[in-house]
């Protein structure tokens, strides 16, 4: 007979435990979400060499501001919004300069039928396109596509409504189609 499965503590329970001083709870939250956060930040335009620093800064801000987590949003969605805000701050700090270089030299010449398309070109085009969206559009799109988050969860994390999140998603798709074409 197999041993009964132990139920994993929820993110809510771990956050509450950390609030009571349990550092292992924080470590478990990091283990659960750090990689996904890194993927989100990179997809959203963070430079490769800066991604880990941004992950740590996002987690730092999140743990310091746990009281600001609205429990109707998932911890991960909330983390992503903090990360998105950090990226925006970085863009401002650089006075609008890009976190990733989007000049045309990096993009294959679509008018040249003989141009050999590099592996991963579509992904890089999407990444470049994502950095041209508004933060709201970008976060909604990535939360949907990379995390499969429901509009209700996205709305709770971003402080908007599910209907508005849906509009942002469709608008993001429309703009990305134009940018990636």
């Amino acid at each position: 007979m197999s041993a009964p499965a132990t139920e994993l503590p929820t993110d809510h329970a771990l956050a509450a435990a950390y609030g009571r001083g349990d550092e292992q709870a924080a470590a478990e939250l990091v283990r659960r979400h750090a990689d996904a956060l890194a993927r989100f930040l990179y997809s959203a335009g963070a430079a490769l060499e800066e991604t880990e620093d941004l992950v740590q800064e996002t987690l730092f801000r999140a743990f310091r501001g746990l009281h600001g987590w609205r429990r109707d949003a998932s911890f991960r969605s909330w983390l992503f919004t903090i990360g998105g805000n950090l990226l925006r701050d970085e863009a401002r700090r650089r006075r609008g300069r890009l976190l990733i270089q989007l000049d045309d030299r990096q993009l294959p010449d679509r008018s040249d039928p003989h141009a050999e398309l590099a592996a991963g070109e579509a992904e890089e085009r999407v990444r470049a396109g994502l950095s041209r969206l508004s933060p709201m559009q970008r976060e909604v799109f990535l939360l949907r596509v990379q995390e499969g988050a429901a509009y209700e969860d996205i709305a709770a994390a971003l402080g908007t409504t599910a209907g508005a999140a849906r509009v942002h998603y469709h608008h993001a798709v429309k703009r990305l189609k134009e940018l990636v074409r």
């Binding site: 750090a34 997809s43 009281h67 499969g148 209907g163 509009v167 703009r175």
Partner: protein, 163 residues
Amino acid sequence: MTPCDHLSDRMPAVVLRRTRWSADEEAHLAGCADCRAEWDLVQAANRLAAASPGVADQAALTDGLLRRLAEEPVSRVDGRAIRWVGLAAAAALAAAVWLGAGPGPTTVASGAAEPAETLTTAQVDSLLERQDVPLAGWSMLDTPTLGDLNEDELERVLRTWEG
């Protein structure tokens, strides 16, 4: 809901392998260029995530994070309190501008400068975070779009669309 809307809603779950396309959905996808373009986009975004680097050394990340958290204690200031302070500062600034015919420019400048100087980094962040600006591609050629609407405006548009 149109078949395109239905497919669009299902794409994240399918790309994350939580479900599969039905035969009807596959048939629609095969015949609808718009849906295919969206599906290509969703798949590329998903591959982008898969190709993204994770955290190389999670133990080191966690150690560094816990050390920082121990060195800089958790802020117990409620976000609402910060917002009220920000609102008060904004009101003071507005009053200074409104009553600009005071004793002279020195007074106005002083009244305007004080609230800004007393803003904390968190308050400044809070104000800045309300601006929804893109990371890149700032262009005069960008035309206002639905994504530029605020939540209330979006809601009104949605209500119009959805009857």
